[in-house]
Structure formats: structure tokens, C-alpha cells
Symmetry: C2
Subunit: 64 residues, 2 copies
DNA sequence: TCAATATGACATATATAGTTTACACCACTA
DNA sequence: TAGTGGTGTAAACTATATATGTCATATTGA
């Protein structure tokens, strides 16, 4: 279950995985893995990502 | 930062910490700690809790 | 009283989120 | 031919979410 919405929001914000990663304080690999749906970030990280992309939890992480 | 909304939603659903914990497949202590705001659950657990309480991520975990 | 239920708090142990490092692939450009 | 930026992935490691176990307390009902 890839997270397509996250990837789309990131690209729309004109950020690379590495740039988003730096903004939220994780590594590029972590962002890549979340977009690939290979795991299960913590709530704090989800919120940081949402704030960086000006989205809400429901926008990026709720529902399939 | 205690999660008051989670506690209220759980009580409104007439569930004890232990009952909610069992429904989402964790221990009572984990629910207690999340309500107490002492950590940082994973996204999967947040979603399971929301589904058990018929709420969305934004309802329980977005904003202060 | 007493037993049962619900909660808070605290350790220690285990599973897994997240890091680091590294290599490979692709598209583009010089 | 390189060379660079963006991405996918994997192994080994560290940090921390979660489990397990226990004790204390408050409340409710018999």
C-alpha cells in the first residue's frame, strides 16, 4: 500500500525526498520508505510531514 | 500534552482502557500512556484506535 | 468490610522505527 | 564518455515504541 498522496503532495510542494527529510528531521531513506508504504511512521513524524507540506493527517494518512 | 480528546472519545464509547486496548491489539498500559501524552504511537496504532472509536485521525490526533 | 473493576505509575525486556552507509539505476547534460 | 540529481533498496546498527510484570489507589456493589 504505497502512499501516493504523500508523494503527490511532496512533488506539488516542489521538494525532493531529501529536502522534505531535512525539514522534518529524518533521513531521505525514511521518507522513501514511507512513500513506498513499507512502514509505519510515528505520529510525531506524520504530523511534522503534514506541517511541512501544509496538509492535515486526514489529507495524507487517513483512508486508503 | 495529554490527549484529552482520546480519553473523552473512549469514555463516550463506554470502553475501559483495557477494552479499547484489546480491540486494537495492544496492552492497557499503551493506551494509558497515549492518553497521558507520554508518547508517540505509530500511525497504524492511531488508525486502529480511530476505527475502534469511529473517529478520524484529525478528530483525535491533529492540532493540540 | 471485602471483592472486583478501573486507573496511574514504575521498572525491565523485546520488537521495531529510524539511522547510517553504501551501491545501483535512470534521466539529463557536457 | 563522464558527471550530477533524484530515487530504490539492503545490512548493520541505535533509539524508542510497546510488552510484561508489579504495586498502589479510588470506586462501586455485595
Amino acid at each position: 500500500m504505497k502512499n501516493k498522496r504523500l508523494k503527490l503532495a511532496r512533488v506539488a510542494a516542489d521538494l525532493s525526498q531529501a529536502e522534505l527529510a531535512e525539514q522534518v528531521g529524518v533521513t531521505r531513506q525514511t521518507i522513501g520508505l514511507i512513500e513506498a508504504g513499507r512502514y509505519n511512521p510515528t505520529l510525531k513524524l506524520c504530523i511534522a510531514i503534514c506541517q511541512a507540506l501544509d496538509k492535515t493527517l486526514n489529507d495524507l494518512f487517513w483512508g486508503e
